[in-house]
Assembly symmetry: C2
């Protein structure tokens, strides 16, 4: 965690009713599943319990018309997992939204930046 100056944290949550269909944790989990081929391993990388990682996957698969994650034979206990084409598309879209939102507010961010105290006053 850098302490070297102001940072803007932007969080986007796509809500469907009371459920978070997609947010930062779920996007990271999709990314982890794509890179590890396993829900359990992806969850571990993120410091998430196996149960929680599974719950997030189930919520995503329920909130979208088509599943974002496909699990192999063995179901909950094994067999690996991967993103569907739809899963890749949703993840890419979410990351692009983050980049676009950050780019759109960069000018205002610079102007706020100048109004903030020096971190050197704070340490």
């Amino acid at each position: 965690m850098s302490k070297s100056g102001p940072v803007l944290k932007l969080r986007m949550r796509l809500m469907l009713g009371n459920e978070i269909a997609l947010g930062p944790g779920k996007a990271d989990l999709l990314e982890g599943i794509a890179s590890t081929g396993s829900i359990a391993a992806a969850g571990r990388k993120l410091g998430m319990s196996y149960k929680r990682a599974w719950m997030l996957v189930e919520t995503m698969n329920r909130c979208f018309r088509k599943p974002l994650v496909r699990t192999g034979r063995g179901g909950r206990q094994g067999g690996g997992a991967e993103l569907t084409a739809r899963g890749h598309r949703v993840l890419d879209t979410y990351r692009r939204m983050e980049r676009r939102a950050e780019a759109a507010i960069a000018p205002e961010m610079r102007s706020l930046h100048r109004l903030l105290s020096d971190m050197s006053d704070k340490q």
Copy 2:
């Protein structure tokens, strides 16, 4: 709270070191102070304790070079409060950032929207 379809919740937090210099709660508080002329009344409107509202104001005033909120005579116990010119400027900038970020991601939001389940399946 509407349940009538997908909603994107966007949260921006401006961090200075470990402190939140500005975020949704503090922006709402600034707005409340501007409209009520009182930290206590603004906090009440937001369901915040007096102590918490004061703490948020103190954090903002400390994180920015110049105070965003000016309190009248009577200090913590009375005398009213108002935004400084700097406070108005920071609040306006933050609201503009929210609008710009939302506008920037509207096309992706529409495309995600189409991939989500119908809420009618969920109720």
